[in-house]
Symmetry: C2
């Protein structure tokens, strides 16, 4: 029986052997939710990069849309911030365009997970796509939480619990304490996920109106149920 484990921080990745496994990269607020939304709205592929400089360079080299923010605010000189709503603006259609997005925590988590057999990006928005993919692959799965500057964060963990619940009939979700804890937290919070996660330190940091709309958006389960961002060579494309 395949196993689901959860790594609470990219800093802990050296403890895990990702070879032959599926890595699910999670950064609920907001990188992974935004990437799912972008691909769901017709963006052809996504280059996640760590720095603003790389983001600008990729934008020029590949002629793609650029999305970047620092400290929760859209960075100057880029097309978009990191809000999923940037991809839902009818006055600026994104379909058919490529995207490069600057995301510190998410990019770190992704780049450190490339030893895995398959690397996908997970969010509440595409929980079903991730669960389906994991079942099809039949491999061990490691949920890699981007965390907050390397530390544990509640929203990524609770996503891991939600995925564990969906996979529980087919996967071993009880041989890792991290997965058990995530399952407990998800089961505790699921009835009112928004109120539950509003306790989170990270969420309270995003206290602007825009961030609050983003927050509610990112908690929608399966709004993009068939969008599977898969890593291919140097980019994320829509698979499945």
């Amino acid at each position: 029986m395949s196993k689901l484990d959860i790594c609470f921080s990219p800093e802990l990745l050296p403890l895990y052997d990702l070879r032959g496994q599926v890595a699910v990269i999670v950064d609920i607020l907001r990188a992974s939710s935004t990437i799912v939304t972008a691909l769901g709205e017709g963006v052809t592929h996504v280059f996640p990069v760590a720095s603003l400089e790389e983001c600008a360079v990729y934008g020029q080299q590949h002629g793609c849309l650029t999305a970047a923010e620092r400290d929760g605010i859209p960075a100057a000189g880029f097309d978009l911030g990191n809000s999923p709503f940037g991809f839902l603006d009818a006055s600026r259609p994104v379909s058919g365009r490529a995207l490069t997005i600057s995301t510190t925590n998410g990019t770190t988590a992704l780049r450190r997970s490339l030893a895995a057999e398959a690397v996908v990006v997970g969010a509440f928005l595409n929980l079903a796509a991730i669960a389906d993919f994991a079942r099809q692959q039949g491999r061990d799965v490691l949920v890699v939480c981007a965390g907050w500057k390397g530390r544990f964060c509640l929203e990524d963990t609770v996503f891991g619990g939600a995925l564990a619940e969906r996979l529980a009939p087919h996967f071993d979700v009880r041989s890792s304490d991290a997965t058990l804890a995530a399952l407990h937290l998800w089961q505790q919070g699921r009835a009112d996920l928004s109120a539950y996660l509003l306790q989170s330190a990270h969420v309270r940091r995003l206290n602007s109106l825009e961030a609050s709309q983003d927050f509610e958006f990112c908690l929608q389960i399966d709004a993009y149920a068939d969008v599977l961002p898969v890593w291919q060579e140097d980019r994320l494309v829509r698979g499945g």
Copy 2:
């Protein structure tokens, strides 16, 4: 208001600045519980060491009792294993003796925390002593979970939640997601802590009869309510 944070693995310690803080080292199964028991039963001081070799050397140099195990089994050539019951055997009194104990996860956590203003060892057995000390110090507190080979483990985390609950009136326990999660897990498990922690992967690994007795023993809250193991120079002594 002072803050309580929880570090789920010694591997994450580089993310925290321990200067000026109180570090509470926790390895519920079993190093920290055994150290509390030893000091509670009259052991004068404890040298925690990482390797069996160091344990033997300290034993000879300091003429002290030696306690060591590997993979849950008492190691050959030492006076005791890592069971707290070794210190409760009337036929071999330990009062007035010094002790050196080999504990891989616990020693790593302790040695990496020495930048803190004060380093103490916490367990359910001495929860009250730790909470009292933290209140008296009035400093920020970091609970350092020894974990299981660097990974998250449930029993150390739940201890962090129990401590957070005791300190909540006087400490900020809501500005860290790790503390929030630990509080939730503690509140979920506290009514039947033994059954709750029996789910844990680590606990299930300790499936011998001796280990099961140790497990129940280590979950007793405040059995040594006034035993405070404090780091002093090169050893743990009873403070408070």
